[in-house]
Amino acid sequence: MDILCVCGNGIGTSVLLKVNVEQVASDLGMDVNVTTSDAGSAKGTANMNDLVLTSPQLAPELEGTTTPVETVENFMDTDEIKSILERYAD
């Protein structure tokens, strides 16, 4: 599945999230393609993905997208990321 990680600038927090999502997905045996984006351009690219991950503060910026948006509070908590990915595993 295609996952888009979104942060304010597309270079800091979203990259850290991408690294952790890839790690968790590999632990779960999921085949994922993870890309990153800034909140401004995410609206345009979100629809080309199966899932969007971002922080609670930035989720309002993505309102209106048809792709599911899930928020992550602790980007360093692989259990939190795992619980989200498991719901989309099938």
Binding site: V15, T36, Q57, E73, N74
Partner: protein, 148 residues
């Protein structure tokens, strides 16, 4: 393994320093980036503006803020700074306040700092390493925990 001495030189650390509020904490992280030749002072202002505009989303884990802005003229090279606060400060992020570690990030492009970010993510998702990082006394010790 990336060259941590290049991305996190001794000059990029400030350990157990006070900060009066979140702006001051980010400014200290910015000052260390400037001192290490990664950014100009303008980048420090941009990091503060990022939070003013988009909120405290940079507080990505309990106690941890990843201060950064966009690549641009104010970025001279890819690198990090590591500012550990003697007293934690509030950023206004309900889930993850207060912040005791501010990592400043200057990146020229995503690829260049991806390796460093991977190593940092590997250490900070590990509770034992996170605890060791909070106790480490010198830049050298912190680099060796990140490299391990």
């Amino acid at each position: 393994m990336p060259d941590f001495k290049a991305f996190l030189p001794d000059s990029s650390f400030a350990l157990d320093v006070p900060a009066s509020d979140w702006r001051d904490a980010i400014r200290k992280a910015g000052d260390r980036l400037v001192a290490s030749g990664f950014t100009t002072d303008a980048y420090t202002d941009q990091m503060i503006e990022t939070v003013e505009k988009m909120g405290p989303y940079i507080v990505i884990a309990p106690g941890l803020a990843l201060a950064h802005s966009r690549p641009g003229d104010a970025v001279l090279g890819t690198g990090l700074s590591w500012v550990r606060l003697s007293t934690p400060v509030e950023f206004g992020n309900k889930a993850n306040d207060p912040v005791s570690l501010v990592i400043g990030l200057a990146g020229r492009d995503e690829q260049e700092h991806l390796q460093v970010m991977s190593a940092i993510a590997g250490a900070l998702t590990n509770k034992e390493k996170t605890a060791e990082l909070a106790q480490a006394q010198t830049p050298e010790q912190i680099r060796s925990i990140l490299e391990s």
